[in-house]
Every structure is written in structure tokens, then in C-alpha cells.
């Protein structure tokens, strides 16, 4: 140990340092407070023996300064005093003294006191170390929570809950919500809703929100079905979550016209359809286990469908709602919730319902996350996504010669349309272009080349027979060439294509079927070409079909 002796009397210095050196400690002497303070930092003493009466700076003044220099670690200060009047002793203690040694010095007592104080100092040292470690971990934890919280906030940025037809009440039990409510409009003006409840509360379940929300937004953007969505959620969660964690979920899609509701309920309390009169019309009971439990092979994505009347409301909630307790420690229960719900249902008073739930709960500690969602079914009025229709400004011409190998292989028209779709502005027209090209191509192939008679398609069997004959004749095809010539004129935004074969025969079906009251199973092809093109013509004595399509025409 490092012992600092502060005493102005050389006799005391000599006597004390002699004694203490014998105990095996390192000793340094100072003659007054100022000297002691000067050497304190470099010396870093473990125990200070301090005289009371000294010139320049006495013990009462020195003690608090040394204590301050020692910082968080306890510095034992033992006053050297010959005085035994209580007032001085009290003053020593007030100045920060921890103990006294009196003259003449008793070696045994001195050693015992030094050891005792050394132990306290040691304890203080290790406490400081632990506090530092604790503070470090606490900081780190806070930093990491901030990171997760930031990531969650970003992940949920896409989550809009401001829809005229949607009302939500979300009350997490602590900072991180183990419940997850996600919504997004699809490309067809349809609307998707996800209500999830991860096992447990706090940070761990909240991190499950990341993969689920990312997947939800991606698939909703693509307009995929609820069945596809839940399969993908489950696949991700089974892979990511530990075995004892899972996510109960209710996933629903409302069609753009608001008439069709498709849902999958895995472990969420009965969702309710409330009719215009404010009564429960239907219970959407959980039919499946929660997400993240079953392997993709065992998992069932089977959904339910309902056709809903306008202004039907879908109420869905997590079990935090029915498990909330009141002052008497009674659970709200499903029955209690439904009683409250029906009280406010007719008036469509969602805020009233939330208020009633809060009144029930009052100041009781909330043990679980609470989510309550009300979706009013009706036309969503959400935008239908439109691809970019800006037309490319460069003129082009593309001539494709299809020989029997290309014709017999996989549909050459889809390849052609896929290639054209890479051109700016044409992608938006791919469905219609495919229709026009496919009809023109099939007409050429089936009638000019294969000499098939559409008339046989009239019956169900005929339809099959027609395509069977088509396959047979196609297989035998030799020395055939079908030419497709595609041109684009930017001045009038016209995409024109002509199609012809090297066959001697012209188009058999030059006359089109105009009986538009009858829906025939054949002869519709040319009618469709007429409907979707701006100009149709037969050239080269009916052997070449010429079609113009206007890219600037308004879309569907």
C-alpha cells in the first residue's frame, strides 16, 4: 500500500514512517496540506495519515481537498491527534476524517487500523469497477435499443394508418410494441391489413416486426393474395424465431369495390363482422395456428372469403384487449368486450368504445400490448397503379422470322412481347400488345398454315379436339416461315405490325363474327383485334394481316 503521512513535526514523520515501513508499506511524507495536495495525484496514496495542526494548510482544510482529489474511490483519512477533547475529534470527522490515531503510536493498533481501512478502500475500488461496467452496459443497451427503435421506425415508415375507412387504437405495454398493425393499398385499389401479436413483450418480439413488415409491404405492393402472404410470413418466421416465440396473426384483404373480404386467422381472437344495424353478422374465428410454428410443409394457408354488405365493419383485436383488468382485478373477457362493442356499434362511435375500454382499465397496470382495429368495408377509393406510359422517342423496326422450330417451341409471342416490354413506354401496353400479336399469330398459324377449322371449337369436346389437332399438325410442320414485322413511328405514336406466312393460303377468317349478342367460344380473335387496334387491313390478297395500334390512346 501507498501511505501518505502529512505532519509538520519531523519526529512524528520519522516515527510513523519507521513503523509503517516495517508493516511492508510504501511511505511518503509531506509537511503540510499544500505539499500533500501537490504530490497527491502522482503518488496516488491508499491511506492518508493527517496531522491536525500544521502551518500553511492545516488538517481540517486539507482533508476535504484530498477527498475531492480521490474522486469516486473512497480515500481513508486517519487524523493524527494528541488531543482528546471531543470538539476537535468531532471537527475532524466533519472535515471528512474516517478515524484517529493518537500519540504515542501503538504499533498493533496502527497496523490493525491500516488494514481495516485498506479493506474498505479495496471494496470501494471494486465497487467503482462494477459501477463502471454497469454504466457501460447500460449505455450500450440504450444505444442498441435506439438502433432497433430507429430500424423499426424506418421499417414502418411505409405503414400508413390514415385511411378514411380505418380506425385503430394501439397501446403498447412498454416502449417496444409486441403487437404489429400493418396496412397498405395494393395495385388494384385493394387494401391489405395485418394484425399480429408476437409472444411476449418488449424488444425481442418487436424485432420480429422487421421481417414481417418488410415482407408485408413487398407483397402488398405486388398485389399478391392473402394465402401467398401468410405462407411467406410463416416461412420467414419459422426460420428466424426461436422455438418458444411465434406470432398470432389476422391477415385480410378487402377488394377495391369493398364487396369481398378474404382473411386468414391464425390464433387471433374472433374478429367480428358488424352489420349496419350494429349487430354481429359473422365471427371470423381462428382456423389456424399462429405464424412461426409449423414448417412450410405442415403450414396451411387456406383462407376464408366473405361477401360483405356496404358499411359492414370488421373489428379485429389482439388478446391484450380482453385480458385487460379493472381495479377489482377482473378481466374484461371477450363477452365484456363484445358488450361494450355493441353499445357503441350502432352509432359507429369508435372513440366512445376506446373511451369505455380506458374507463374499464383506469390506472391498472397494462400487462399486454393492446391493438384494436375497425375497418369499414366499402369502395376503398385507393388509387389503381398505372405503369409509365411515356412513349419512347426513337423510331424503330423489328422483323422476326419464325421457322418451324421456333413455332413448335415455347410460345414465341410471349418472348417477343417480353423483349418489346423493355422499351420505354411499351411495358404499359404489354397485355394488349400480347393479345393483338397472339391473335394475329395464331390466326396465321392455325388457319393459313395448319388449315384448322374454328367451327369445331363450338362444343366443349370440339375445343379440345381443335387444340389436339393443332398439336398434331404442328408436330409435322416443315419448311414454314412466319414473318412478323413491327414498326414504331414516333410522330403519331403508332406501333404497326404485319404478319404473314410463306403458306399459299390466305386468312380463312377474313370475314369476322359480328353477332356480338352471342358469346361464341370461337371466332372472337379477329373481333378482339378490331376492338383493340386503331386500324386493321388484309394485304397481299389476304395473306398479310396489317394492324396499327396507337400507344397514345387512353388506357382501360
Amino acid at each position: 500500500m501507498n501511505i501518505l503521512i502529512v505532519d509538520d513535526q519531523p519526529a512524528n514523520q520519522v516515527m510513523l514512517s519507521g513503523l509503517i515501513k516495517r508493516f511492508g508499506h510504501h511511505v511518503t511524507c509531506a509537511s503540510n496540506g499544500v505539499e500533500a495536495i501537490d504530490m497527491f495525484t502522482s503518488l496516488a496514496p491508499d491511506v492518508v495519515l493527517l496531522d491536525v495542526m500544521m502551518p500553511i494548510m492545516d488538517g481540517f482544510e486539507t482533508a476535504p481537498c484530498l477527498k475531492a482529489l480521490s474522486g469516486d474511490v473512497h480515500l481513508p483519512i486517519l487524523f493524527i491527534t494528541a488531543l482528546d477533547d471531543q470538539e476537535t475529534l468531532l471537527k475532524c470527522l466533519e472535515a471528512g476524517g474516517d478515524d484517529f490515531i493518537s500519540v504515542p503510536f501503538e504499533p498493533v493498533v496502527l497496523q490493525a487500523k491500516l488494514n481495516a481501512h485498506a479493506r474498505v478502500r479495496e471494496l470501494s475500488h471494486s465497487l467503482k469497477g462494477k459501477n463502471e461496467a454497469l454504466a457501460y452496459h447500460s449505455n450500450r443497451m440504450e444505444r442498441e435499443q435506439n438502433v432497433v427503435s430507429h430500424m423499426l421506425a424506418n421499417a414502418l415508415q411505409e405503414n400508413q394508418t390514415e385511411y378514411s375507412f380505418l380506425k385503430t387504437y394501439l397501446a403498447p405495454a412498454n416502449e417496444f410494441n409486441g403487437d404489429l398493425v400493418l396496412t397498405k393499398g395494393g395495385p388494384l385499389g385493394n387494401f391489405y391489413l395485418f394484425v399480429g401479436d408476437f409472444t411476449g413483450h418488449g424488444l425481442a418480439p418487436a424485432t420480429g416486426a422487421l421481417p414481417v413488415s418488410q415482407t408485408f409491404f413487398d407483397l402488398a405492393e405486388k398485389g399478391l393474395s392473402v394465402a401467398n402472404m401468410v405462407e411467406e410470413f410463416n416461412r420467414k418466421l419459422v426460420k428466424l424465431l426461436p422455438d418458444d416465440m411465434f406470432c398470432a396473426a389476422f391477415v385480410a384483404e378487402l377488394s377495391a369495390n369493398g364487396e369481398r373480404l378474404t382473411y386468414w386467422n391464425g390464433g387471433i381472437p374472433d374478429a367480428l363482422l358488424i352489420n349496419e344495424a350494429g349487430q354481429v353478422e359473422k365471427r371470423l374465428v381462428p382456423e389456424h395456428m399462429a405464424l412461426g410454428i409449423l414448417s412450410p410443409e405442415e403450414f396451411s394457408s387456406q383462407v376464408s372469403h366473405c361477401f360483405v354488405e356496404k358499411n359492414t365493419r370488421l373489428i379485429t383485436y389482439t388478446d391484450g384487449v380482453v385480458e385487460m383488468t379493472n381495479k377489482a382485478d377482473e378481466r374484461l373477457s371477450e363477452r365484456g368486450f363484445e358488450t361494450l362493442l355493441l353499445r357503441y356499434a350502432r352509432e359507429r362511435d369508435f372513440d366512445g368504445l376506446v373511451g369505455a375500454l380506458q374507463d374499464f382499465q383506469q390506472d391498472q397496470e397494462q400487462l399486454d400490448d393492446i391493438s384494436l382495429v375497425c375497418l369499414n368495408c366499402g369502395v376503398t377509393n385507393l388509387p389503381v397503379s398505372r405503369p409509365d406510359t411515356n412513349v419512347t422517342h426513337l423510331p424503330f423496326r423489328l422483323v422476326v422470322y419464325l421457322k418451324e422450330d421456333e413455332i413448335k417451341g415455347r410460345d414465341p409471342i410471349i418472348k417477343l412481347v417480353d423483349s418489346l416490354s423493355h422499351l420505354e413506354g411499351i411495358r404499359a401496353h404489354k397485355t394488349t400488345l400480347y393479345l393483338l400479336l397472339a391473335e394475329a399469330f395464331n390466326n396465321t398459324l392455325e388457319h393459313s398454315v395448319l388449315q384448322l377449322d374454328s367451327g369445331i371449337k363450338q362444343t366443349g369436346q370440339g375445343f379440345d379436339e381443335y387444340y389436339r389437332t393443332r398439336e398434331e399438325r404442328l408436330a409435322k410442320l416443315e419448311d414454314v416461315e412466319i414473318e412478323i414485322d413491327i414498326q414504331y413511328q414516333p410522330d403519331n405514336s403508332l406501333l404497326s405490325f404485319s404478319i404473314a406466312s410463306n403458306s399459299e393460303n390466305g386468312f380463312i377468317e377474313c370475314q369476322d363474327n359480328t353477332e356480338d349478342d352471342e358469346l361464341l367460344t370461337f371466332g372472337r380473335g379477329l373481333q378482339l383485334i378490331r376492338n383493340f387496334s386503331s386500324y386493321v387491313d388484309w394485304r397481299d390478297d389476304g395473306r398479310r394481316l396489317y394492324i396499327e395500334y396507337d400507344l397514345s390512346l387512353p388506357h382501360a
Binding site: P187, R386, D411, L435, E439, L519, G525
Partner: protein, 101 residues
């Protein structure tokens, strides 16, 4: 799989979804999708959300389905058609024979 077939939990709806291109190349698959529907008179829902292309042969297949199912189903709905696909159905006046929703 370009054609999928799934009954709803209550067995009252049969959803047939067609992915990508809908034409005569799916003639067998499509017929299989609406075969063996049982006696429960389900509503058949043709989900076109992932259908990008169709031609007159697909229209013929839909009409054949309607003819073949007759009164063994409660109805046939063509749903979730993208705008351009919807236009083809509308111009062909399929609304006279199907519910297009």
C-alpha cells in the same frame, strides 16, 4: 404452377388463380382445377391478380368452364383483373355471363 386451386376454409368458395399467361397451353391444367368440385355448390372465384396475358383461347376456356359447371356451382366470379385484362373481359362482354369484380 401457373394454375392453383384452393378451397376456402368453409368449402363454399373454390379459388382458381392463374399466374402469368392464360391461354390454351393451360387447357388441361385449367380443366382439372374445376373438376371434382363436389355437391356443395361452391362459388368459383377465378383470381386474375397475377394474370398478365390472355387471349381469345382463354376466353373460350372460361366459357367452356361455365358450360361444363352449369348449376353445380353457385356462380362464377372473375376477380382482381388488372386494368388491361379487365378491358379485354369488358369488351368481350363477359359481364353478361360472369360476375366481374
Amino acid at each position: 404452377m401457373s394454375v392453383s386451386r384452393d378451397f376456402s376454409n368453409d368449402g363454399k368458395q373454390l379459388v382458381i388463380a392463374i399466374k402469368g399467361k392464360f391461354d390454351f397451353s393451360l387447357v388441361q391444367e385449367f380443366r382439372q382445377a374445376y373438376s371434382h368440385i363436389g355437391d356443395s355448390q361452391p362459388t368459383v372465384i377465378i383470381d386474375l391478380r397475377e394474370t398478365d396475358y390472355l387471349d381469345s383461347s382463354a376466353l373460350g376456356m372460361l366459357l367452356n368452364m361455365r358450360k361444363s359447371l352449369g348449376s353445380s356451382v353457385k356462380g362464377i366470379q372473375l376477380v382482381n383483373a388488372k386494368p388491361d385484362v379487365r378491358r379485354i373481359l369488358d369488351i368481350s362482354r363477359f359481364d353478361k355471363m360472369f360476375v366481374i369484380a
